[in-house]
Symmetry: C2
């Protein structure tokens, strides 16, 4: 997380942010021009610039406009176009997760905070801002908002595109508008579960996987797919909706408008409700986990049935698309083998026998910050998994991330 920092280093960070902000606003500037704009002493400014250049945040260039033959052309300074800083934010249903990478694209840190499901967007974005602030610690390699290139945001729900090819996509999401206003940089947005799938496939349980099925069992049930080495979006942005595959024809009504969807059986609320209906008591998943660890029969029986339903759905999807890795994430996966065992059993029973030894079932490893990390991956657009994924229209504004990295 954020590194400890005293008042002096805070002051220095403030000066650095000032310089980086000027370079972002004005483009290439000479040392003299920077000095006029920032009002810092020559010594302080040169000191700070030397540090920023050494870290790779700023690069020097010889000005093209300098008159020829009249002594040395003026050297200008500019933000390093090859090294953007980026923030990822996952606006989950009942909590917020942020992560950030520095100019070297190393993860600086991450932070999370739960909130009510009905928290307005203004307050969510304000909370995001505070969490991001907690990551801007002192020291080399820390996040510098002045050099921020873009923000990648995950939100709940399918980001459905219209069927009219002339439509220029739907209106911006409130989170996009508010974040852009606050940070003044492009904001890319996608389904947060798909971003978690991306995060797990780049840095997590399925790192290096070319054909990955990611399932998240949380307040909602959904997932994402990497197929043939590419993050899959689906026509109109609709894919990975494993939670809305029918498992109980004529079953409970689902938020999607259907009935008997996997989500009506395997979401956090569905599982806690079913546990209560069976006479058990658990206010949340940690309490259910305790009951499971205590060997409580009702909890084990319930999870066995839920796991079987999940495994059946996974088997159907496996037969259709043939992944080599299945990753199970989300809070419900915290119940461990009591759920994962039955999932594995039903998967084994229903997947084509020839595939049984060819698919590996794993627990997610990135935890609740997977979606925020996926948001960063979306912005950096460096992973081969994204080589064919549509880049947001905003991304064109960041030459370092589209032109330089994807010639």
């Amino acid at each position: 997380m954020a590194q400890p920092h005293g008042p002096l280093s805070q002051l220095r960070r403030g000066h650095e942010e000032l310089v980086l902000g000027l370079l972002r606003k004005h483009g290439p500037l000479s040392r003299g021009e920077l000095g006029k704009h920032c009002g810092l002493s020559r010594t302080t400014l040169y000191d700070i610039l030397a540090e920023l250049v050494a870290e790779g945040a700023v690069v020097t260039a010889t000005s093209q406009d300098a008159p020829r033959g009249r002594g040395r052309p003026a050297e200008t300074l500019t933000l390093n176009p090859d090294a953007g800083q980026a923030i990822g934010i996952d606006f989950a249903r009942r909590g917020l997760h942020v992560a950030a990478v520095n100019v070297a694209h190393e993860i600086v840190g991450s932070a999370s905070e739960p909130h009510d499901a009905d928290l307005p967007w203004e307050e969510r974005v304000a909370l995001a801002e505070r969490l991001v602030g907690s990551l801007t610690g002192a020291g080399s390699g820390a996040l510098r908002l002045g050099a921020l290139a873009a923000i990648g945001v995950g939100v709940v729900g399918a980001q459905v595109e219209g069927t009219d090819p002339d439509e220029k996509g739907s209106a911006p999401h409130p989170a996009q508008l508010l974040l852009r206003e606050r940070f003044g940089v492009p904001v890319l947005l996608d389904n947060n579960t798909r971003l978690a799938a991306l995060g797990e496939s780049i840095w997590g349980a399925a790192a290096g996987g070319q054909d990955v099925l990611y399932l998240r069992l949380s307040h909602g049930v959904g997932g994402g797919l990497v197929v043939g080495g590419s993050l899959h979006r689906g026509a109109y942005g609709l894919s990975g909706e494993f939670g809305h595959i029918t498992v109980e024809p004529g079953g409970a009504r689902c938020d999607c408008g259907g009935t008997g969807c996997l989500e009506t059986v395997a979401s956090i609320r569905a599982v806690l409700d079913a546990y209560r209906d069976a006479g058990g008591r658990a206010a949340d998943i940690p309490e259910l986990v305790k009951a499971v660890r205590a060997g409580e029969t009702g909890a084990l029986t319930l999870l066995s049935g839920v796991g079987a339903r999940i495994g059946e759905v996974l088997a159907a999807v496996c037969n259709a698309i043939g992944p080599s890795v299945i990753v199970i994430g989300g809070e419900l996966a915290e119940t461990g083998p009591a759920l994962i065992g039955p999932i594995e059993g039903a998967l084994h029973d229903h997947v084509m026998p020839v595939s049984r030894q060819r698919v590996s079932l794993r627990r997610a490893t990135l935890g609740e910050v997977a979606g925020a990390l996926g948001g960063i991956a979306l912005v950096l657009h460096e992973s081969p998994l994204l080589s064919r994924y549509p880049a947001g229209p905003d991304l064109a504004e960041i030459p370092s991330m589209t032109q330089t990295r994807h010639p």
Copy 2:
């Protein structure tokens, strides 16, 4: 199909094949060298060469080895590296389908012939050879075996790859060995249903589709996927196995080793058996189609139930991967609205409501030759749908198809 041809044009075709065969065997040759090898009169040879050059099958080049300054360098002739001829063969369970493209990559024709399911491979390949022969008619643009670049072959069953990355793939299929021996060209092989999906997505019902789900209801039930503009293979070559998604837990035993698979309900045999069990009489699908057209209640009720199962599976796969087009092919689709209606109904009921208006269900349009056409597409490797599809090791032998077309 094959064009009519008399003895004289047959003789001419024989001469053309001879010349093309020599160019394929020796590489670039001068007119003089060709004359020595083929034994034809100068007039006949020059006549044939003029025709082949005019058609684009053969191109002329100035020899690099000609000594400088000693008169005109010798002109050599070579097969046009930009225009290969190709054959596609679908070795289906109970029949054989061939198609061919000429040097301009236009489809010359196609032919089919049914056979017993247990016909040995030697006889299947001999039958394929006869059918291919029926396509080598006279006239401009016809197939010339002498300029044949490669053969694309579809076979029944998943072409499963081993899990050991060091393995160089499985042993060649008997059809590959026999065809290579006979035609002396590289033979690429894939699952024939996946090739049919490719054919329909390039030239058929889903032409231009970037996200296509193809389902074939035949002696087996399977399909193929185009995802994000690429034919999808799946880890280990296992994808599109929609026929082995469980629809009746604990149901009938399936050939795959599982139970209650869609194939145990929706294959030709399963449907005819169920029809007989219900007191109906139909020896084959055309007879069932007659019963349907006569409004026979038993047939309609049966297909309604089968269609519902199919629609449920399609909905599950749709929710997972979000295609924009679903194509239904195979003999069973000949039963028309009696089957397609119930499929559509169940798809509507079980797909996410938001997707209902975003997916279009269509009948296949290429008929039984779809797989053979897909085989040709695999060889030509020109479709953007194949830009990321693994090219067979043999393909490296055909510079015109890998190096020239995919720089």
